[in-house]
Symmetry: C2
Subunit: 291 residues, 2 copies
């Protein structure tokens, strides 16, 4: 297509040269037959104001926002969704007739990626590894899924503590417990839980770290979710699976938060059925293997 | 292609929804195997400063500039080529590591579009119909081609006078004469000239006006060039051809000014051979017929 009526979308971040979002969104744009194109913009933090002014001046349709801009960009937007206000972070900017509105689709992406497993979360005890921005999005989703008890842990103890406070005060999770990073007490928490989620960058290519040193407490009782999708199966997921656990990586979360962004920009309720989802997974996994 | 390393180019103007530049440039991008994409941006005059700041913040590779921004955008750029300084207008912005440099490729586009006919211009008497921005670009090319005498005319007499002054003082054309719009003296000028160029919008779709009311003085002695390319053959070119004149429309000028912009952005000496030029002409003519 690509003519003078083509709408421009994109993602801002720094660095951005390894983002999968252009592949994902251009695949969806083609799949849904839209006259649009999606590119990656490397934006420095001190250029965020100019970036948002440029979005308005150039009438760019919308942007995704990734690390390190998810919080700071909120200083330059005109409107924020309720969830963005509560989370203090966004991943989607919508340019609505020259007003830039911030949305966040990461919690939705996490929840929808669970498929039928969603039902196992109500009343569950869950361990969340890592307490950065991604973990905060997951915590929001967990509170909506009706999780009963949340264990948090992080290399930075204060960050785990903060997430725990947020979960209790803001998200109304019934019980929260902070575990110090590397504390063997994590094994008791694993035995007490049925769901373990890695929202830390441990295990992300090219690193092969495992966010849990001792995997002995894992069993077929567990569902283990790793937000990392590169490699397709991390050491963490491999080890958990070898102990009988069900496992899932973060690729569907990436796809479904992107789908939700596109819905906001185009104001249409696009759906990806099972074969379409498998096709786009293949496209992205191929991209990861042959960058 | 389209991945996180894709370079973004575009055109700014207002209105922009009928620009052929996205079709042209995306064709060239594919033809030359570049990882880039080109879109049209509708930019309001009061947003030009934000637009240029946005180009830097978003690291956009380069922009074409069209009506009404070719002069005003110069207030916001960091550097200007020598020809831009002399013309007071640009059509190409290059983002060179955060510095925006203004270039103009229209005179080159005109000259190169002449092909072997270039040689007929040295020492020739030429009539230039219209005295706006496009005519100014043509006048620059004419001075470099060694034209001896230039007749200028425009609906706005002062504009024709100004162009005439520019041609004598700045462009060092030997002789210039201004003809009042609609003055029958145009026939004597046509008889005295071998080349007649329409750089006014007369005859542009959907209008079917002819920039010269009385075509009786045209003959096989004349080469008639119409910068208008929509329709492919204007009434002006049809009438001139029926009197035996050789004719050419402005499509090759559009293509070749675009090629020159791409050379500046990518810093490569791209060439379009004859079959490639014919292919892109067909693409653009099809677009004009089926918008």
């Amino acid at each position: 297509m690509l003519d003078s009526k083509t709408t421009l979308y994109g993602v801002i971040g720094n660095p951005i040269a390894h983002s999968l979002s252009p592949k994902l969104h251009n695949w969806m744009i083609k799949f849904f037959g839209l006259n649009a194109v999606y590119v990656a913009f490397c934006v420095k933090t001190e250029e965020l104001r100019s970036c948002i002014e440029g979005v308005k001046a150039l009438e760019i349709g919308g942007l995704n926002v990734t690390i390190p801009h998810k919080e700071k960009v909120l200083g330059y937007v005109d409107e924020k969704s309720e969830t963005v206000v509560r989370m203090g972070a966004c991943n989607t900017l919508q340019n609505k007739n020259g007003r830039v509105c911030a949305h966040v689709t990461d919690p939705f992406g996490f929840t929808e990626s669970l498929g039928e497993r969603k039902d196992c979360f109500a009343g569950a005890h869950v361990i969340l590894l890592g307490a950065g921005g991604a973990a905060r999005s997951v915590a929001f989703a967990l509170s909506q899924l009706g999780v009963k008890k949340l264990y948090t842990t992080d290399i930075l103890f204060d960050r785990a503590l903060n997430l725990s406070h947020l979960a209790v005060k803001e998200l109304k999770l019934q019980e929260c417990e902070v575990i110090e990073y590397g504390d063997p007490a994590i094994n008791d928490a694993i035995l007490d839980s049925t769901i373990v989620i890695n929202a830390s960058p441990a295990g992300m290519h090219p690193n092969t770290d495992c966010p849990v040193a001792d995997m002995s407490a894992f069993s077929e009782r567990h569902f283990v979710y790793d937000l990392v999708y590169n490699p397709e199966k991390t050491q963490f997921l491999s080890h958990a699976q070898s102990k009988g656990a069900s496992v899932q990586n973060g690729l569907d979360m990436l796809i479904l938060q992107g789908l939700a962004s596109l819905r906001i920009w185009e104001e249409k309720e696009f759906q990806l059925d099972r074969p379409a989802l498998q096709e786009v997974r293949n496209v992205l996994n191929n991209e990861l293997k042959n960058p």
